[in-house]
Symmetry: C2
Subunit: 76 residues, 2 copies
DNA sequence: ATTTTTTGCAAAGCATGCTTGACATTTTTT
DNA sequence: AAAAAATGTCAAGCATGCTTTGCAAAAAAT
């Protein structure tokens, strides 16, 4: 999952540590998410987005999962 | 975590099973999320929201985690 | 150039999300 | 009323998210 976290963080000149504290998590968690090691949970994604004054969709890039969802083969 | 999933699902007269298939998960997962047994992952939350043509923030209610985030004590 | 801060990474362990299968109860259909 | 479909739940097990400690390398500050 791609994110704009690093970009937003640098714009505001925050360290990973500062962001982590602000959203109630650890530095390693922020690193892992920025680096794509794993995907944030919904609550954490929300806190991060909200911290930057943005929506989840504005911070996280979901283009990797938009497949096969909209081919209409599952509609009634 | 509260959600509007059941509400949206019933509006469109879908069963849990149908929604589950549409978003690539199982009936039990939908039940558990609707009933509040646990919180959806970010990817699943996205797929569900997108299925209904809404944003994550429109489907999931985060009012339970907006605490202590905006008291300015963590700003530079 | 040396020191300090920031970042990447790894392993162990715990917490949470999800699947599968199965059964009981409720709701809808006939 | 009887049959069928939909929902809630439980347990076991696997997958993923997160924390903690600790170390190494890169970047920023002095």
């Amino acid at each position: 999952m791609k994110t704009k976290i690093r970009e937003l963080r640098k714009q505001r000149k925050l360290s990973q540590e500062e962001l982590a504290e602000a959203v109630g998590t650890t530095r390693q968690t922020i690193t892992s998410i920025e680096v794509g090691k794993y995907t944030a949970s919904l609550p954490l994604a929300y806190k991060i987005a909200r911290y930057f004054g943005l929506t989840i969709e504005e911070v996280f890039d979901f283009s990797d999962l938009e497949d096969g969802l909209w081919n209409n083969s599952n509609r009634n």
